[in-house]
Subunit: 243 residues, 2 copies
């Protein structure tokens, strides 16, 4: 059977990978992915064939993965975090109708909301929303509407892609929208380089987050009205009676 895995490798460090992800890569002849993620797995699987493409070449990369699988090679398309959450599984499945003989298996992984959340403590123990601030593929009006709706519902929020060179003020704008419904004292946190060298975290208020400088390797967490600091951790209580 012609086989293509779309596998989420987690945040980077090999120990965050699931056993099924590792097995999928081990069973593959070729590993395909965005250069940065392929670099993360290369040391673990040095005997494999690799095909990496720069960022922004997602359609090309997915077509190549499908072509390679259709030619008879077992292929693993690796994604950082989860295979689905802003990952390649959707695009692969959309394109897969052109390659009906290729069997596609999606292998989930630990997305940054979970791995970053664990580093901060427990910010997402209650209902939460995940929103990307990147407007490369999404109209900014829709992103802003979602920020507004998530704030209105007092969701905990994980923000992906909070910044880039072209979008330096996006986080500040996002905070301004959230501040329409959330208190400036709402507890927030940032985690940078999750599971990689130079990992760092910070806990702050929403008012402070508005002024924070973050980069594209940062995931941002915004609490709900009950989120609090416990020691050096960020914790959203679920509502248990502790008396």
């Amino acid at each position: 059977m012609k086989k293509l895995f779309v596998a989420g490798i987690g945040p980077g460090a090999p120990e965050y990978m699931t056993f099924s992800c590792r097995e999928a890569i081990e069973a593959s002849d070729v590993i395909v992915g965005y250069s940065k993620y392929v670099e993360l797995v290369k040391p673990l699987f040095s005997e494999k064939e690799f095909f990496d493409t720069p960022m922004m070449r997602e359609v090309e990369r997915c077509r190549e993965a499908l072509r390679l699988a259709d030619s008879g090679k077992t292929v693993a398309m690796v994604c950082s975090g989860d295979a689905g959450v802003y990952g390649m599984s959707g695009l692969i499945l959309e394109l897969s109708e052109e390659y009906p003989e290729v069997d596609i298996e999606v292998v989930p992984g630990v997305t940054a909301a979970l791995s970053g959340g664990a580093i901060l403590g427990a910010p997402l123990t209650h209902d939460f929303a995940v929103i990307s601030l990147s407007d490369l593929l999404t109209p900014i009006e829709l992103i802003e509407k979602r920020l507004e709706c998530a704030a209105m519902g007092d969701f905990c929020i994980a923000l992906y892609n909070p910044s880039s060179k072209k979008r330096a003020d996006y986080l500040k704008n996002a905070c301004d929208i959230l501040l329409k419904y959330k208190s400036p004292d709402t507890m927030c946190g940032t985690v940078r380089n999750i599971g990689r060298e130079g990992e760092e975290k910070e806990i702050m208020t929403l008012a402070e987050l508005r002024e924070a400088k973050v980069d594209m390797f940062t995931t941002v967490f915004i609490g709900n009205e009950k989120t609090k600091r416990v020691g050096d951790r960020l914790v959203t209580p679920r509502g248990y009676y502790l008396g």
Copy 2:
């Protein structure tokens, strides 16, 4: 050092576990958790000491885990899915101030939104919200408000705890709220017994979901306005140009 891991084991099958979760359990003397989850890991770590409690005894279970760790045993508190998402990491951290010598490490895991999403295809490749329909710890008015806000923002939605004996009509009520903003043709899916015996999935419209019978072992997925069926998968496109 006195050590307590709060570890997400994923949906159940051992291959969905991360390497760091397995290492945390291996490094522990005692494994603590809700009986059902402890049963899932017992066969893998038969030589360990186990402490399990029935559902609804979360505070007692967490205090016992902290007490055991404080007495010098290395403890792993296991949670299904992720340690944070409706898991025990928040409660453990809240209670941890009474046990200042215990070092707590949160180990993330693959939550049902990701593992169930992978089984369905790629329903959560765009902004999404995770909402629990259980009103044991959350006022039903807040749950309803969050459903409304998530629908208003055209989020993809993963619903946890969609049903129980006492809450047989909750999913129908939730669908009625979503239908105020989402089309009855919105593509949805359900996954039951993720990563366990008897795993099954179904794809349907939101109108059909309203009539569906689901149980407490089911995770429900509701698409955004672009979510579609591709073969037997549920796919939310991210917006790439495929021409």
